[in-house]
Symmetry: C2
Subunit: 466 residues, 2 copies
Amino acid sequence: MAHDCSFLEGLTLEADQYSFECGRREAHATDWGTQDEDAPTVPDAVVWPESTADVAAVLEAATEQGVPVTPYAAGTGLEGNAVPAEGGISLDLTRMNDVRDYRPEDFQIDVGPGIIGSAVDEYVADDGLFFPPLPSSGDISTIGGMIATDASGMQTVKYGEVADWVLALEAVLADGTVVRTGSRAIKTSSGYNLTELLIGSEGTLAVVTEATLALAGRPQQVRGGRAIFETLDAAAAAIADALQTEIDVARIELVDELSARIANEYLGSDLPDAPMVFLEFHANHGIEEEIGLCRTIFSDYALERFEVSDDDAEMDRLWEARRELAYATRSYDPDRETLHPGDVTVPISGYPDIVREAKRVADEYDVTIPCFGHAGDGNLHYTVLANPTDPDELARGERAYREIVELAIEMGGTATGEHGIGQGKQAYLEPEHGAGGVDMMRRIKAALDPTGTLNPGKIFPDDDEP
Amino acid sequence: MAHDCSFLEGLTLEADQYSFECGRREAHATDWGTQDEDAPTVPDAVVWPESTADVAAVLEAATEQGVPVTPYAAGTGLEGNAVPAEGGISLDLTRMNDVRDYRPEDFQIDVGPGIIGSAVDEYVADDGLFFPPLPSSGDISTIGGMIATDASGMQTVKYGEVADWVLALEAVLADGTVVRTGSRAIKTSSGYNLTELLIGSEGTLAVVTEATLALAGRPQQVRGGRAIFETLDAAAAAIADALQTEIDVARIELVDELSARIANEYLGSDLPDAPMVFLEFHANHGIEEEIGLCRTIFSDYALERFEVSDDDAEMDRLWEARRELAYATRSYDPDRETLHPGDVTVPISGYPDIVREAKRVADEYDVTIPCFGHAGDGNLHYTVLANPTDPDELARGERAYREIVELAIEMGGTATGEHGIGQGKQAYLEPEHGAGGVDMMRRIKAALDPTGTLNPGKIFPDDDEP
């Protein structure tokens, strides 16, 4: 489905702002969730806008020409969110990475969508501020991408998700209309909440060209550590209990015994291959009491070891297994590949159940599924590993993957806690939201992008409509 | 514009579920913001649904018959949000006030939209839980009304707004379609955020029939008190400084000298007619350090008195002037009425400016404008009082009112922090959001309610469209 993008030459773009060159197009065909065996759709052109006016000009012309436009930035999405499923233009926003305005007196910063998350933190560090909801990929992912999927991360348990820290947006609709949503007031009830509608819409409704982010002051006390449990059940139950007791924790990450083994092997560590919980506490007062209460609760659940430190180097050491886990998993088994990455999220009381069910499913289908997650949100990342040359194992892996998502939805949870629907989770949109909810989403899509220009083939399982 | 509502007799409603009787219709014609001189539009019928099926049946039939439907509950809105501007049916949701499910282990409760806010708090009190974002009218306003305007209140500075505590909704669209939005997971990025779109949409997109609310645990330490300043400038600057220092305060309310005088006269109090700041602190650790830090900051700003207590009766006494302010203002000047209630909200660094400007405007137009507000949010309630028999004073009052809203928008703030647009703030929708933003809202309205059945005459300044 090649689209003629020669109209780009008629716009006021500089020569280095667009390309039809094969290598550059191929570099925009995939994201982190794309597997080797996928045959990715390569965009027909790549455009690097440098201003809101550039974005508006490209979108207006593309809509007129019937050419799809898929926003792209770091390409770190897991669900194919930024993959140009129907070809057309890959709109690479990484050059719009500037700080537009910074108002530390209001804890606010205005940035372009292409800025890397950690660059925001660096920019505001001297004032003791930070952007709390960065995902684990915050040092390579862009703010625009985080807004597109309403990202979250390890600190969401204490500070909330990206949507909680975005006050206002500038965005361009498919027809080239520039809109501003929200305000600099931290509370408003003026009209429909367009900001929240755009956040998490994966670039299917508009292209975000500027974001006003809220910032927080760094806590005066930080402690980090690790708990090791005898069984996974005990670890998950301890976490649920701690959260139900409202322990004030800034990070609480579960790692199952298989993931622990993967990390231990990768690091050559002498830790037991046992379920681990990684912890970080932030406070201005009373952090030791909070840590003590957490230890007391954890002690009721087959706790083997509980270590917390206030020393930076020691905290780093205690967290090493968690930090290296993504890399370790990738190189764990040369015969097996990640079938699908991604996550599910459930109410906290169901966390022990979903963790147990994930292991049961792995046993039942005889596939390898290391699990970890932002446990404080009820979030579980489960990575189905399968041998790509073994059709039977692949099929079992697919069934295992599906069953865990379906269980999460049955438990009142969600098919995707923080990576969006993209291409990977489309089959679960209707089971989660019902036909009425999906129809409501489709109506909104059709109202704001009637030609279906923006990121077609995403979120909705069947793109005949809108 | 009378509408024939006789079709109601053909639905499966019980005889006591609808009425064409004059007194009952008139009781649904106004809200708290309606002034005596207004000639309110009386609905043609009142319906009291008792189930989601009732709501769906009424909406489907009304849409078919071209009859407007305006959701109604406690009638405590300030901007005419629930007033049936074009007649038709007033859909009174107060009978749908039940608790549907309660999951303390997840800090969640499912309620009907007609439940009173404080009834939720009472229901969960034995488990040490509460619903933090209740507005000041929480003991008479309904959860459905709070969702309709995305209400907030005194504790929003610490805990956030209503939208931050609503996880999922059941709602009925104008055509009778029942939709479920959100999930019980505290974090999701599955599809468009329909929950946030409906919150604050004032019943113009759908009628909420059930809400899943999040709850918090009550803090272990509570302290309440009051600071008195020599000047309003000093009080506002002290508040901004305290917030910029990230004092962990649960309530921080500014009351200007005129409001203080009104309250003092009403209560026969011997307090000075001086600007006051009412404070409440919630914490599990270190509350005394936080209060001490607040006192130190306040001391830099012409502080006259700073009193904080941990005794319930004493806290009540210290807060008396703030608590009685709404009643006191209503009966303050027998010759003058409230021209408009309502609020504006600005970024915190602009708070001293908007407070100063409000007083300047009052002087310039020679009208009485007592001010108070949820200062921690940058929120200012300013009540223009005017003599209804004096056309010149009325005109000056209108100009003063407008000028303060315009100033707030210029400062990057919002025309309405917590009461919605309704009828009262329609003129400011486009100045705040621009033509593009308003057009985007209109497109959404037209997509979800193409016949314009739901709450017509609200939010949008001109109802020729959607």
